[in-house]
């Protein structure tokens, strides 16, 4: 009986729990431990042990050799990395595509959610929303297939359209020219994720009190003004939290899109950090060098996350930590 009452009340009165000996609580909660410890161990093995693998970047790692027999080389791999011209090209590609993705992936869903919110016909609204989620569930493999097909030079929809509108006379080789690549990746990303990312904004918008809109209407505010002065400030915390999180993932945009949409003709524009680690680290058996690339990626991501969090905390009082 006592356990039960402490269960209910300890949220408000933690003192109740500390009175009992920790050992007794542990015994009482043994099932909770049985139910969580295996997964904690699992998380440790599959999520934390790879972090231990970072030591490889400071070794001349040879597979199949014990940890203590590895040769330590300090920062040599990082030096190689920073002296490699190729690395800066890859970094440029990563940053360019991430930034384009960040800006587009942040503005387009907000605008989409705002516009959808103005649709008064419920059936229409629901239909548009349902259709807009759909691409999120389609794999990148299929999406890349569709994009490639649409942009192809023989019978691709985009080229046919442009030719029939007399905008161009010759089909453009979209997939074979590097300077198109960043735009194609960003466009594909917008097509795939806009509807999905708008879900959270739409939910936040529906949480705004209707009395605010009524008051604004009484004061004669147009719908555009209502959007600007009520809806947007209403979803501001959501926008900022999501923005911070996507800044934290700036370098970790993944490489699926680039891997699937890229080819050797556009590799100067399509290769991103993870692909670089894959092609010049893993594929060549240079595990240590590849790990150095991964570390660089993770560390920069963390710095960006904390910086973004700090800046927003200071200026807007919104933060995730």
């Amino acid at each position: 009986m006592k356990t039960i009452s402490s269960n209910v009340e300890n949220v408000y009165e933690p003192a109740e729990q500390t009175k009992k000996s920790a050992w007794k609580v542990l015994k009482n909660q043994k099932y909770l431990y049985y139910m969580s410890i295996p997964f904690v161990l699992w998380v440790f093995v599959f999520q934390y042990l790879p972090l231990w693998g970072w030591t490889m970047a400071f070794q001349k790692y040879r597979p199949g050799v014990g940890f203590f027999e590895q040769k330590w080389v300090g920062l040599e791999h990082f030096r190689t990395l920073f002296q490699d011209d190729h690395f800066y090209q890859v970094l440029r590609n990563t940053l360019a595509m991430s930034l384009m993705g960040l800006i587009a992936g942040f503005i387009v869903p907000v605008v989409f959610a705002l516009m959808l919110n103005e649709v008064r016909l419920q059936v229409m609204k629901r239909f548009v929303q349902t259709v807009s989620y759909l691409p999120h569930f389609v794999s990148w493999v299929v999406a890349a297939g569709i994009v490639t097909k649409m942009l192809s030079t023989d019978g691709g929809v985009v080229n046919s359209l442009l030719i029939s509108l007399h905008i161009i006379d010759q089909p453009i080789q979209f997939m074979a020219q590097g300077h198109w690549f960043w735009g194609i990746v960003t466009g594909a990303d917008i097509w795939k994720e806009t509807g999905w990312n708008a879900i959270i904004y739409l939910a936040a918008i529906s949480g705004i009190g209707p009395e605010l809109y009524e008051a604004a209407r009484v004061d004669g505010a147009s719908r555009l003004r209502q959007m600007w002065h009520i809806t947007l400030p209403g979803i501001r915390p959501t926008i900022i939290v999501l923005l911070i999180m996507s800044i934290g993932h700036l370098l970790g945009t993944g490489f699926e899109k680039q891997f699937l949409l890229g080819n050797h003709l556009v590799i100067d524009y399509s290769e991103v950090l993870d692909l670089y680690a894959l092609n010049y680290g893993l594929a060549m058996g240079r595990y240590s060098f590849g790990t150095a690339i991964n570390i660089f990626n993770s560390v920069i991501s963390l710095i960006l996350l904390f910086a973004a969090n700090g800046i927003f905390k200071r200026f807007t009082n919104e933060s995730i930590m």
Binding site: Q17, L26, F39, V43, Y133, V141, G290
Partner: protein, 234 residues
């Protein structure tokens, strides 16, 4: 016939298998962990939550992950599709937020009836969590069904463990490059004599997309809720 393309049958089997097993395993482990984290009296709750939350922002990266799989002898096994993604912090937090919203009195009365924590989880919490579980099931299933990179990285040379997405990816990669490469074009022409890659591509695209199109409208009301739950809490 496109079904003579051997990768198609194996790929379908493995894709279905990994989706079913991966989803079931992920649901059970995720919900179990979520329940313990939703118990405000659980001693280790704060520690485990933080331990889990870290994984949302820090990851070892591609190569340390690969080496780990190699050291665990998971390369060229089916288990490599299931084990690494078993517990996802995001999914756990989605389910936990949902459990947090359930009235505590339910657990209390079960406890009075002499149920232990596991029984409460299994008999009281799980049946009530269906909306959250549906959301997470959708995330897990779509993730498993759509994934190709783990096949490429870990099981690329093992034809008996191929997946539909990986087969599709191989065909796509060969056609995008072949348009500009004479050697590849020749290879492709040779292969086309047996089965047209275009028709295999179409077949796989339909097989991998249609199930999602059929399932997702029914789950829509759940995942919309689930997405917002996860966003609020984590």
């Amino acid at each position: 016939m496109i079904f003579t393309y051997s990768g198609l049958i194996t790929g379908f089997k493995i894709s279905v298998l990994r989706t079913v097993i991966g989803t079931a395993a992920g649901l059970i482990s995720g919900s179990m962990l979520a329940y313990t984290l939703a118990r405000s009296d659980f001693q280790a709750r704060k520690f485990i939550s933080a331990f889990l939350a870290v994984t949302m922002y820090v990851s070892g990266g591609l190569i340390p992950g690969f080496i780990l799989m190699k050291d665990l002898h998971l390369i060229n096994t089916f288990a490599v599709y299931i084990l690494p993604g078993l517990v996802s912090a995001f999914n756990v937090f989605v389910i936990r937020s949902f459990i947090d919203g359930l009235p505590y009195a339910l657990q209390e009365s079960a406890k009075l009836d002499g149920a232990n924590d596991f029984t409460i989880y299994w008999r009281v919490i799980l049946p009530l969590c269906k909306p959250a579980l549906a959301t997470v099931a959708l995330f897990l299933a779509v993730g498993q069904w759509n994934s190709w990179f783990d096949t490429y990285l870990f099981n690329g040379s093992n034809e008996s463990l191929t997946t539909l997405q990986y087969e599709l990816m191989k065909i796509l990669q060969s056609t995008t490059t072949s348009a500009t490469n004479a050697q590849d074009a020749a290879n492709m022409a040779q292969r086309m004599a047996q089965v047209s890659p275009e028709s295999v591509k179409m077949a796989i695209t339909i097989i991998v997309t249609v199930p999602i199109l059929i399932v997702y409208p029914f789950l829509q009301k759940y995942f919309v809720k689930g997405m917002t739950l996860g966003a609020v809490k984590s």
